[in-house]
């Protein structure tokens, strides 16, 4: 996936303390949390013969940043869709704040305070940035058909919403763009807008699907800060991400999925050292510079690279 801008960035937002002590008992896949906000049980989704998601048990800790990682096709986005009501599982139960969400349509899930963003950003292109934001507010009186003709019933509320939207736009440094069509924003700005718009609904749990995909390094920094801010404001964040440096920097807890199952979870420092995770996700040769191995880039061969070269030679000999 995207390269790792954070590694070369000396002002990475790692200075904020991580939340620890989230789990109860031994760390293993499906471990119970001290204060879970979301609990999923036996959630299974099949597409024909393919089982895309098969999660036995998983709990998302409250007021922490949880990363959901895994290789492409691991079922992360499908799991997101299931949890937020955008897709229906073949079986399974899941609850948010102790309230069952099974079979609940997506819009009602969002109203309960579980708001998501999308991997492919969904900025509403031909609406202005400000209108995009105002759309995010829930419980608007003017959105009911019969009261929409009577501005005096909703104008006051609309002005409050507008003030809140401007406030958020300021925080996300999009205030100069408020009158522009969302379609005129850059990819990174759209990501920011989508996140800001999600916050208009005052969610408890924010689910971000690859918030960093396609965002340039200059914006990555501010996006990371915004995600950390969410936790400071008492929200819970669950995000899917491929950038391991980002996961290490901001996640308090990491859940690893592979082939639809939760294969490991734990605090980022420990879980990323687990052999199962390295094999499933990072690949066995993650430290190897392929450029050096193939001779395209000049450089000293490290032990790992020499091992890989020997392995390749072995395979080639067997082939002959």
């Amino acid at each position: 996936m995207s390269s790792s801008p954070m590694s070369s960035d000396p002002t990475a937002p790692a200075s904020r303390p991580k939340t620890t002590g989230l789990h109860q008992g031994e760390v293993r896949p499906g471990v119970a949390k001290v204060d879970p906000i979301l609990i999923a049980d036996g959630v299974k989704r099949q597409f024909g013969g393919l089982t895309a998601v098969d999660v036995d048990h998983v709990e998302i800790p409250r007021n922490a940043i949880t990363a959901l990682i895994g290789p492409n096709g691991a079922g992360k986005t499908t799991f997101f869709n299931l949890l937020t009501g955008f897709d229906k599982p073949n079986e399974g139960e899941w609850s948010f704040n102790g309230r069952s969400l099974s079979g609940m349509p997506a819009f009602r899930v969002a109203r309960l305070g579980l708001v998501r963003t999308f991997q492919l950003t969904k900025a509403l292109g031909l609406l202005t940035v400000l209108d995009n934001m105002k759309l995010g507010a829930t419980g608007q009186r003017g959105e009911r058909f019969w009261t929409s003709f009577l501005p005096f019933l909703w104008r006051g509320q609309d002005q409050e919403i507008e003030a809140r939207a401007r406030d958020l736009l300021m925080r996300f440094k999009l205030d100069a763009k408020e009158a522009d069509f969302a379609a005129s924003l850059s990819g990174g700005q759209r990501k920011l807008l989508e996140m800001a718009r999600a916050l208009m609904g005052e969610p408890e749990l924010v689910m971000l699907d690859e918030p960093m995909a396609g965002v340039n390094p200059a914006l990555t920094q501010s996006l990371l800060d915004h995600i950390l801010d969410l936790k400071d404001q008492g929200m819970t964040v669950l995000f899917v991400e491929h950038d391991m440096h980002m996961v290490r920097h901001i996640a308090d807890w990491v859940i690893v999925m592979a082939e639809g199952r939760v294969v490991a979870e734990g605090p980022p420092d420990t879980v990323m050292k687990e052999q199962a995770v390295i094999d499933a996700y990072l690949g066995a040769h993650q430290d190897v510079d392929l450029g050096v191995v193939t001779g395209r880039v000049k450089g000293e061969h490290t032990t790992a690279e020499r091992e890989l070269l020997e392995e390749i030679e072995d395979v080639e000999e067997e082939g002959e």
Partner: protein
């Protein structure tokens, strides 16, 4: 060739009940397509439901004209619900397929001889104007009154007045809707309904409301047309739907006045061509055409115009130029 007569015929078309009906139908389609993004290909069906609801209520049930108009509207609401409930949860293109089929079903139901006593079958319905004309508050006069090409009889003026008042009310109504938070949600759905769903809006319910509102406005178009002329199943064919689409796209789909301008322009151009081309044939200016062929050529040119319009100015005459830069 009488140029003045041709221009006069063309100008008279602007205020004809058919044009006013077209204007209303185009406004309704703007609510569907321009603002909500619903691909309604059954515009003629909604118009037919309104027109027949109006005519049948008077002829078969002997109701006063304004009650009959209300029943025409109610019929459009029911039609919208029947179409919307199974299709609005599906992807947009399904609505297009279902509406085009439903409009044909409606037309064939009105055409079949099985219901001849009620629907008049292929002859359509006529002679239901007595009550409407009796309610005309204009002072008695005989012959045509007006100025220049816009001279009409007392009955015709009454239809025009009712039609124009309806257009103004509907325009105000759509304008008030679209500047409200309700309109914001509707436009959001047009851009991306999943995004709107993720923000806690009941997208299905909003689309249903928009389908009903637009459907009622289209049915009003059918009713106004019926007030001025007879009701005939051959009017409500699929090409009628495409003419209204042409009118809407010509004016600008996501605008308030676009459909009005588009529908009027459509009829002006159509009236001009269908007067001008046969006249040109008569004086021998188009030796390769017969009089009948020249009438057909009008529709060929309209089809060509629609294609050119969609390719070169997809936002329409009144559409926002900025929007063109970001065509999806």
């Amino acid at each position: 060739m009488d140029i003045l007569q041709i221009l006069s015929n063309t100008a008279a078309q602007i205020l004809s009940p058919t044009t006013i009906g077209f204007v209303l139908a185009a406004i309704g389609l703007a609510v569907h397509f321009g603002f909500t993004g619903l691909l309604n290909m059954g515009v003629a069906g909604f118009m037919a439901v309104g027109a027949y609801g109006f005519a049948i209520s008077i002829l078969t049930f002997g109701l006063p004209w304004w009650v009959a108009a209300f029943i025409g509207i109610l019929a459009a609401v029911v039609f919208a619900l029947i179409l919307g409930i199974p299709t609005l949860r599906l992807r947009g293109d399904y609505l297009a397929v279902v509406t085009i089929a439903a409009a044909e079903v409606v037309r064939l139901l009105f055409l079949t001889t099985a219901f001849r006593p009620v629907t008049g079958s292929a002859d359509g319905l006529s002679g239901f104007h007595t009550d409407f004309r009796a309610s005309n508050p204009l002072p008695q006069f005989s012959g045509n009154v007006g100025f220049g090409p816009w001279s009409y009889s007392r009955d015709q003026w009454w239809v025009i007045i009712v039609g124009v008042i309806l257009v103004v009310i509907v325009l105000l109504f759509v304008w008030a809707l679209m500047r409200s938070p309700w309109g914001r949600v509707i436009k959001g759905i047009r851009e991306d309904e999943d995004a709107v769903r993720a923000l806690g809006k009941n997208v299905f319910s909003f689309k249903m409301q928009a389908l009903v509102v637009g459907g009622v406005i289209i049915a009003l178009g059918g009713i106004v047309t019926a007030m001025g002329t007879n009701v005939n199943p051959n009017v409500y064919v699929t090409s009628q739907t495409f003419y209204i689409w042409t009118a809407l796209l010509l004016g600008g789909a996501a605008t308030i006045f676009g459909p009005v301008l588009g529908a009027v322009l459509f009829w002006v151009v159509r009236a001009l061509l269908s007067n001008l081309l046969p006249a040109l044939v008569n004086i021998g200016a188009l030796p390769f055409l017969s009089g009948e062929q020249s009438q057909m050529l009008v529709f060929v040119l309209i089809g060509l115009a629609l294609m050119l319009l969609v390719i070169f100015r997809p936002q329409g005459i009144l559409g926002n130029r900025k929007e063109l830069t970001f065509v999806k």
